[in-house]
């Protein structure tokens, strides 16, 4: 489903790193295997990844970074602008990061200390909701999660916009984002959904991630345990 395989490395980098992009997503969006670290800047949480034999990168969040952001770091010997741009593209594709979640990337102008939050008209799309739902369920006992649990957990993975928080017209007791999450589970026959693709099976109150579903998540670097 994705021609790029991202692998999480259990080894800390033996080189220094430089920030090259920022995403509007928390570190847990990318993996649950997170290590604690400290360097000359501050304390941080991090995960290291590889793509093939050549590409190495870290995702980190330092204490002083804004909430629900993660910074992509490349080795400090990667300084060629095209290589940096190509690597960021590779990471975005490999980790299936929505383009709207790219807050900044090397080459874009910026002001120190200022980064505009995602536009108010951004909203959770069903494609991304399908992946988040699988990530949440994969961490639960038996890799199963009820729809209500999924709806409780999703706000920990994405900053919901004003548009997400609009009341659903068809389900007035729910916000739009809750309806999107519910649709992932209830639209069983959707050809793009996790059931048709064999990534999950329906349960009485939600879904269960299959072995294929876990492999799918692992291929984008997401791990639930070391």
């Amino acid at each position: 489903m994705n021609d790029i395989e991202v692998r999480q490395s259990m080894f800390e980098p033996d080189y220094d790193v430089v920030p090259q992009a920022i995403f509007w997503r928390p570190l847990r969006y990318f993996t649950m295997c997170i290590r604690q670290g400290e360097d000359e800047l501050d304390l941080f949480q991090a995960a290291s990844f590889t793509i093939g034999n050549e590409v190495k990168f870290d995702l980190r969040v330092y204490r002083g970074h804004p909430e629900l952001t993660v910074t992509l770091y490349l080795p400090d010997n990667v300084s060629d602008e095209k290589v940096i741009a190509d690597t960021i593209d590779l990471v975005v594709r490999g980790m299936v990061i929505p383009l709207a979640a790219v807050a900044w990337r090397r080459g874009q102008r910026f002001e120190y200390g200022r980064l505009e939050r995602p536009k108010a008209d951004n909203r959770l799309r069903e494609h991304e909701a399908r992946i988040i739902v699988l990530k949440i369920a994969a961490q639960q006992p038996g890799r199963s999660a009820s729809t209500s649990l999924l709806k409780r957990e999703v706000p920990k993975y994405i900053e919901l916009s004003a548009k997400d928080r609009v009341r659903s017209q068809s389900r007035p007791r729910e916000f739009l984002w809750q309806q999107v999450v519910g649709n992932v589970v209830s639209h069983q026959k959707s050809s793009e959904g996790p059931f048709a693709k064999g990534l999950a099976v329906r349960t009485a109150d939600g879904l269960k991630v299959t072995k294929e579903g876990l492999d799918y998540l692992n291929d984008m670097g997401f791990k639930t345990s070391p």
Binding site: I22, E40, D42, G64, T71, S79, Y112
Partner: protein, 106 residues
């Protein structure tokens, strides 16, 4: 000279202690070590923006951060960033920038 900032460093038990903050205010200098993995040599590192409800220091400097900084972080490398000075203590080499420092970790 234009000033750059505000920037900040948070209090840590190792690299940004209250004792270091007192020295930074008195000297008007911020020093940075070589990262554990070597990196690009001695480096001063800081967050961008003001320090909100946290202990640490805030500072402004006339020395422009290195271009490989990000919206959240800034760096000044010895030998690579214009205006960065060399300092030594014992056998260790440091990068040093001059700055107007406000101590928020008394």
């Amino acid at each position: 000279m234009p000033t750059h900032g505000p920037f900040n460093r948070r209090e840590t038990p190792r690299t940004q202690t209250p004792a270091i903050a007192i020295k930074q205010v008195a000297s008007g200098e911020i020093w940075g070590r070589t990262p554990k993995n070597g990196g690009l040599g001695p480096t001063v590192q800081a967050y961008t923006g003001l320090l909100v409800n946290q202990r640490g220091i805030e500072f402004n400097t006339e020395i422009a951060p290195h271009p490989n900084s990000s919206p959240f972080e800034v760096r000044w490398y010895l030998h690579l960033t214009a205006g960065v000075q060399r300092r030594c203590e014992g056998a260790e080499e440091f990068a040093c920038i001059t700055a107007v420092v406000k101590n928020l970790q008394p």
